[in-house]
């Protein structure tokens, strides 16, 4: 209608395209570099975000609202794909077989985060968020590392995988809990909301696992297009409703992923992988954008300490859990070091707490940066470490002339 506003909108779109395009090309270059180095691109995306943020080297001007929606979709797709990864049967058997390991993992790895948060004088909620950041290992990084190192067949691998599954399942409880706490209601009202939220999640979880087959049959179609649109629509709908019910959109998406099974799940996995990669990259970029670069140096030392502490707690977790499964020394070291990597979900959790504690996001970013890079390296060099431990153990054992060595040969 009006010439003026139309051209304004035009230039706006043009500048959004140009800036967004340039940023995504930059992300692509970083992803290339990361693949070459054999690392996950997540920390690189975060750094890119920091660089183009307002106080960064190359501040961009595109509307944050625009990228915000993309980032939210990224979180939803990350969780949706996570739900798709597992079948109800796998969750059930992991729960039965790995519950002890899962509880140990939770106890050893959420505690350091919470403790450090409280020591820093943060609010309990912020400390709980930091606990989540240190608790959750990166299932995508770890699955890739295990595959690359040819360890999927190893005896300790089922333990490692079931720990990861249980962590992901724990997210289904943790995220709604955080969502309710973020509302900042009183103690009583808060407790009631938490009860309702968790009840709903557990109910939907049961339904999804029991009757997911019906849902999968409804979604199923030979056309990829139909499946893509139906599934994406469902994910957004359920996520939106979940958000409205204060359960957290991400958990809604996770539950949709769980409900899908069989061939539809396989189809959805191939269809959504590129979509997830795109939006997740935007999400990591967005988290980076939110970080004030000047706040990073202050938290760097802290992140290093936290990284050290929580590497040790994860190694102990894997060591003990693999031991319960009758795995010998070297396998126990491999299991422990494999679990060290933290990644996408630590960032997701940190992203929730921007309003609660300004230092959380930069600390988590620096922490994930360290853990996403050192985790795979540690896992790779677990073998020499293991032989070292083993030779030490042999020595002490021969000194004490105790019974048979821990490692059975044959």
């Amino acid at each position: 209608m009006k010439q003026g506003s139309e051209t304004a909108a035009h230039t706006d779109i043009a500048s959004i395209f140009i800036e967004l395009g340039a940023v995504i090309v930059a992300l692509a270059l970083l992803a290339r570099l990361a693949t070459k180095l054999g690392l996950t691109p997540i920390p690189f995306y975060l750094i890119a975000g920091v660089l183009v943020s307002k106080g960064g080297l190359l501040p961009l001007h595109f509307s944050e609202q625009f990228i915000d929606v993309g980032a939210e979709i990224g979180v939803i797709l990350l969780l949706f794909m996570l739900g798709l990864e597992y079948t109800g049967e796998e969750l059930g058997s992991s729960l039965r077989r790995g519950l002890r390991a899962g509880v140990l993992d939770l106890a050893l790895n959420i505690t350091p985060g919470i403790a450090i948060g409280l020591l820093l004088g943060w609010r309990p909620l912020a400390a709980l968020l930091l606990g989540g950041v240190t608790y959750i290992s990166s299932s995508s990084i770890i699955a890739k590392v295990l595959g690359d190192l040819g360890r999927l067949g190893n005896r300790e691998t089922p333990v490692v995988l079931s720990v990861l599954v249980l962590e992901d399942l724990a997210m289904a409880v943790y995220l709604p809990l955080i969502a309710v706490l973020l509302l900042g209601q009183g103690l009583l009202a808060g407790a009631a909301s938490i009860g309702i939220a968790l009840g709903t999640v557990i109910l939907v979880l049961m339904l999804a696992l029991k009757h997911g087959g019906i849902f999968s049959r409804v979604v199923a179609h030979r056309s990829d297009e139909v499946v893509l649109l139906t599934t994406f629509g469902m994910v957004l709908l359920v996520a939106g409703v979940a958000q409205r019910l204060q359960i957290s959109a991400a958990v809604g998406a996770f539950l949709v992923g769980l409900a899908l099974s069989g061939t539809v799940a396989d189809q959805a996995r191939t269809l959504f992988e590129p979509l997830r990669d795109l939006f997740a990259a935007i999400f990591f970029l967005f988290v980076g954008l939110q970080i004030v670069p000047a706040s990073i140096p202050a938290v760097l030392l802290l992140a290093l300490g936290l990284a050290l502490l929580t590497s040790v707690t994860k190694i102990v977790t894997g060591w003990i859990a693999a031991g319960w499964d009758g795995v010998a020394v070297r396998g126990r070291v491999r299991a422990g070091t494999a679990l060290v990597a933290r990644g996408e979900f630590s960032v997701v959790i940190a992203g929730l707490g921007g309003s609660v504690e300004p230092r959380l996001a930069p600390l988590a970013a620096a922490y994930v940066l360290l853990m996403a890079i050192t985790g795979p390296i540690l896992a790779r060099f677990a073998e020499p470490m293991a032989s070292f431990v083993q030779s030490r153990q042999r020595r002490t054992e021969s000194e004490h002339t105790s019974e048979a060595p821990a490692v059975s040969t044959g």
Partner: protein
Amino acid sequence: MAKIRETKLPGVGVRHEFKTEAGDHIGTITHRSGQRDLLIFDRKDPDACATVLRLQEEDSRMLTELLGGSQVEQNQDTVRQTVGGVVLDWLPITGTWSCANCSIQDTGLLERTGVTIVAVMRDGNLIPAPEPQFPLQPDDMAVVVGTADGIAQARALLRTGDSSGNSASSGAASSGGR
């Protein structure tokens, strides 16, 4: 026969493993993508794999074919799959079998044993639902469905022309350890 152990790997697939006669530990991972890993466990560190061979679907088929042949005949009992009392089995037809070069109808398979040939593998191609007039040839692999007893009779019938299985003279030995 070695015992095969199955382990589910959440998010990855299924692992199967067993100990060979020579005492080596070997196994496979069937990925959900269809990729298979052939695992050879380390003798020094029994928890780890010394070798992991990544096989795409085509590679697995090739390897199966190489290892198959005589093996399949010997291990028929392990190949068969039972679903609620109905057994699906593979019968490798050789030139010495009496049914070679006669049609399915001629064998009287369905009437005499209640077993149906649901498909025939020939030169790597699957021929589904063959007609009664379909001629069986040496080196075909007949995919049959029936009861366990019916399939035992069917094997005898196709091999010797007699479903009672008593005319062992003509070559029960070739079927290996059943």
